[in-house]
């Protein structure tokens, strides 16, 4: 055989070998280099929908919202920082109370706080080393224990554990089933990161029913926790839900002032003499209106507010300072 043929043969074989390798032995896509995330804005680039939802959520405003700033005296009460600017939950550990962080506090409870893992990756629904954030499947994201490090300061997760929602079976629901539902009800569309809670009045309304009846010369008002997977209200001691009534004004007439009946709230530890009146799931509270002025048609209303104080405690103005949850009229 001539040398030329040998060389040509070798070249052909090499080309065949290369072709075979290219076709059948594809090198794996290299994982993304480890990236240090210093701001949740870095997540926006890829996760635009979730970021946009989060950006208007109360998690995003946990640090900048004037209300907790006022209640904590501008975070002079440094214990408030633990939950309002937490270190990543996976780094502290599920079941452990969160730790405060000193950086990017304005981002509040941000992407990094919930998704960053101790190994530098990001918790997600799948494991994929290719994207820059190197998501790793973490089923803990959907467990109530994941929310507990911040939201169990006052027993909200324990309250949930006492409900039927915590029992295995068709009725099982965790925190995110109500607070981060699938977008349009479709699991393939991912979860809504708006994280509706006590600022979402539709959600608050879904928690309670208000009924009233006349009985033996009095009006008996019933409030039942029908839909919250925990007490009503829950979590922050600053939250309060107040029951008021007043005679129903004739059309065009100025209504009388609201008269306070009952408050649902877990008081601050220094509020001497006040009891925890949160309403547990499935429980009904009856309150009587025993007042001659209630002989005619009255209206009874349940209001909700995120701070417990009234501008004028002697003459509270629920319509001006709180949100209406439920209202009923009771005929004579």
């Amino acid at each position: 055989m001539s040398p030329l043929r040998i060389v040509l043969g070798l070249i052909l074989l090499a080309a065949a070998g290369w072709l075979g390798w290219a076709l059948f032995i594809t090198p794996p896509t290299p994982p993304a280099p480890a990236r240090a995330f210093t701001s949740s804005k870095q997540c926006q680039e890829c996760h635009t929908t979730a970021y946009a939802e989060w950006e208007v959520s109360w998690h995003a405003q946990a640090w900048t919202d004037p209300e907790p700033r006022k209640l904590s005296n501008d975070f002079s009460n440094t214990d408030c920082i633990d939950c309002h600017a937490p270190q990543p939950v996976f780094e502290t550990g599920l079941g452990n109370r969160v730790l405060p962080r000193a950086t990017r506090r304005v981002e509040g409870v941000d992407c990094i706080a919930c998704h960053q893992l101790a190994n530098g990756g990001m918790a997600g629904t799948i494991t994929n080393p290719t994207p820059p954030c190197r998501p790793q499947e973490q089923r803990d994201l959907v467990q109530a224990e994941f929310c507990a490090p911040c939201h169990n300061q006052h027993g909200t997760v324990q309250q949930w554990q006492a409900t039927p929602f915590a029992q295995a079976g068709p009725g099982f629901r965790t925190c995110i089933d109500c607070h981060m539902p699938y977008r349009e009800g479709d699991p393939s569309k991912g979860r809504d990161h708006t994280m509706a809670g006590g600022h979402d009045m539709d959600l608050v309304r879904s928690a309670v029913e208000l009924r009233a009846r006349r009985e033996a010369g009095k009006v008996v008002v019933e409030i039942e926790n029908v839909g919250a997977g925990h007490n009503y209200p829950t979590d922050d001691r600053s939250r309060a839900s107040d029951l008021f009534w007043r005679p129903l004004a004739a059309a065009g007439a100025t209504p009388e002032a609201w008269r306070h009946l009952y408050r649902f709230r877990n008081p601050y530890r220094y509020e001497v003499g006040l009891e925890n009146t949160e309403l547990a799931y499935g429980k009904t509270l009856e309150v009587e209106v025993d007042d001659a002025a209630a002989a005619g048609t009255i209206e009874v209303a349940l209001f909700f507010k995120t701070t417990p104080y009234w501008s004028d405690p002697e003459h509270p103005d629920p319509e001006g300072e709180a949100h209406l949850v439920r209202r009923v009229e009771v005929a004579p």
Partner: protein
């Protein structure tokens, strides 16, 4: 041909092997050093304390109630020579009388003089070594925030008597009573009581009362301050406050008492829990103690429980220079992944200068961004000579905003009042611009700028004095308007700074 085929296959194999790219092993953030070892520090101390405190149940005579009532009556209403005899006899009864005295103390039906006499009796028995007597007086004061029908006159007396029981372990709990006490005179009594043990942890509360109290109670607060200034040999109130804050050697040393140390460990043990109340109370009380508490907290930095370590570091940070003895332990804690940043802040607060080199190393770069920022902040308080050079790279425009703000703040914090404008002008301009930024928290920035202007004004800087006057003249509310106004005025005035 066969040879060609073999060579070709070999070439293909080599090519496939050489061209397959293995995943690159990168670690962009750098390797974290191993965390320091931990052990069951708190558990061991609590066990040791339990072994120490085994109170013997006192033998109580059947007629003790009648006996004590008789003595109380003498104590309350006799003003002659029978009074000291009654007191002596009560002291001799000792522990056996405590339960009865406690019941009389809290009996709302009894006349006031009898209840005050019960407090005095408990103090005498306490001074003779009865822990139960001291506990009874403490329980009386501690009940103040939690009862609806308050008897401030009684709590004040109990607080004063606690200062006479000569049992230093009561210090921490008396200080903790200050946190929720709303009655100014009871506060003054508590401060007076702890001061008898050489603890001035309540001074700041007295200064608040001096400023905000009604005229009569302001006068009592001023009298207390004057007395304490004289007793502790200070020049004036400011000097007394400075000596206490810095743990000045001229002040009496803290009591050396095993029961006091055990009380400190009981509080540290409370830092483990999920509930924040015991954590909060422990930090509040211990941060107002001195070197004794700092020494125990230093040891607690090695505890196996993360929250004990973290809250111990936080308590030391709140203690300030009195906690300097914990410096070496805090330095060893810098590599604790979750406590390191708090330890760094505490090193700055306790003014442990030997930590400067390590903090500088971490300020230059750290696997933990939190630790890097905390180290920068701590260096501002230590003010090493090379601070400006260390901060320069942190101020670069491409650095995260938190780091730049921390570096600028550190340079201003380190300025004793006479730093050259070339060093502080640019950081001040950056901080002024950040006052209106939505991307960073502004409270500490505003506080840092205000303190900086104050120090330069006190040092005789006319520019700072004029700027501070304008700064303080800005209405405090609403927040956004105040921050905008302060940002604008400072930015404008900085153009003339150093000119």
């Amino acid at each position: 041909m066969k040879r060609a085929l073999a060579l070709g296959l070999l070439a293909a194999g080599l090519c496939a092997t050489a061209c397959r790219r293995e995943p690159a092993q990168t670690n962009a953030t750098g390797e974290a050093p191993p965390p320091p070892p931990t052990r069951a520090v708190v558990t061991q101390h609590i066990q040791a304390c339990q072994a120490l405190e085994q109170p013997a149940a006192p033998e109580v005579p059947d007629d003790i109630g009648e006996h004590v009532d008789g003595l109380l009556s003498t104590l309350a209403y006799d003003h002659g020579r029978l009074r000291p005899l009654a007191l002596e006899e009560l002291t001799d009864l000792g522990e056996a009388a405590v339960a009865t005295l406690d019941a009389r103390l809290l009996d709302g039906e009894l006349d006031q003089p009898l209840r005050l006499a019960a407090a005095e009796g408990l103090a005498q028995i306490g001074a003779a070594g009865s822990r139960a007597a001291a506990e009874a007086l403490l329980a009386c004061v501690q009940s103040s925030p939690t009862v609806a029908n308050k008897e401030f006159w009684l709590y004040q007396r109990c607080a004063l008597e606690l200062g006479r029981v000569k049992q230093p372990w009561v210090i921490v709990r008396m200080l903790q009573c200050l946190k929720y006490e709303v009655d100014y005179d009871t506060v003054l009594s508590l401060v007076d009581g702890v001061a008898r043990y050489g603890n001035l942890g309540g001074l700041e509360a007295v200064f608040v009362i001096e400023r905000n109290g009604a005229p009569e109670v302001q006068a009592r607060a001023q009298a207390l301050v004057a007395r304490l200034v004289a007793e502790f040999g200070a020049r004036d109130a400011a000097d007394l406050e400075r000596r206490w804050y810095e743990g000045d050697a001229s002040l009496p040393p803290p009591p050396d008492d095993p029961a006091y140390v055990c009380e400190i460990w009981r509080n540290i043990d409370g830092m483990k829990g999920w509930e924040l109340l015991p954590v909060d109370m422990a930090r509040y009380g211990l941060s107002r103690c001195g070197a004794v508490a700092a020494a125990q907290l230093a040891e607690a930095l090695s505890d196996e429980n993360l929250y004990v370590r973290l809250h111990s570091a936080q308590t030391l940070e709140r203690m300030g220079p009195r906690g300097r003895v914990a410096g070496p332990a805090l330095l060893s804690t810098l590599d604790d992944p979750q406590v390191g940043p708090e330890a760094a802040l505490a090193l700055g607060s306790v003014r442990y200068e030997p930590a400067a080199a390590e903090l500088t190393r971490r300020a230059a770069g750290s696997p933990s961004f939190e630790l890097q920022v905390a180290s920068v902040r701590a260096l501002g308080r230590l003010a090493p000579a090379d601070l400006a050079a260390t901060m320069a790279p942190c101020l670069a425009e491409d650095q995260p905003l938190d780091l730049r703000a921390a570096a600028a703040g550190a340079l201003l914090t380190a300025d004793p009042g006479d730093a050259k404008p070339a060093v502080v002008a640019a950081p001040a301009r950056l901080m002024a611009s950040l006052l209106v930024s939505k991307a960073i928290e502004t409270r500490t920035i505003e506080d840092t700028l205000g303190s900086w202007l104050g120090r330069r004004s006190d040092a005789g800087d006319a520019w700072a004095a004029a700027t501070l006057e304008a700064w303080l003249g800005v209405p405090l509310q609403p927040d956004e308007a105040r921050l905008e106004a302060r940002s604008k005025l400072l930015t404008e005035r900085l153009s003339a700074f150093g000119a």
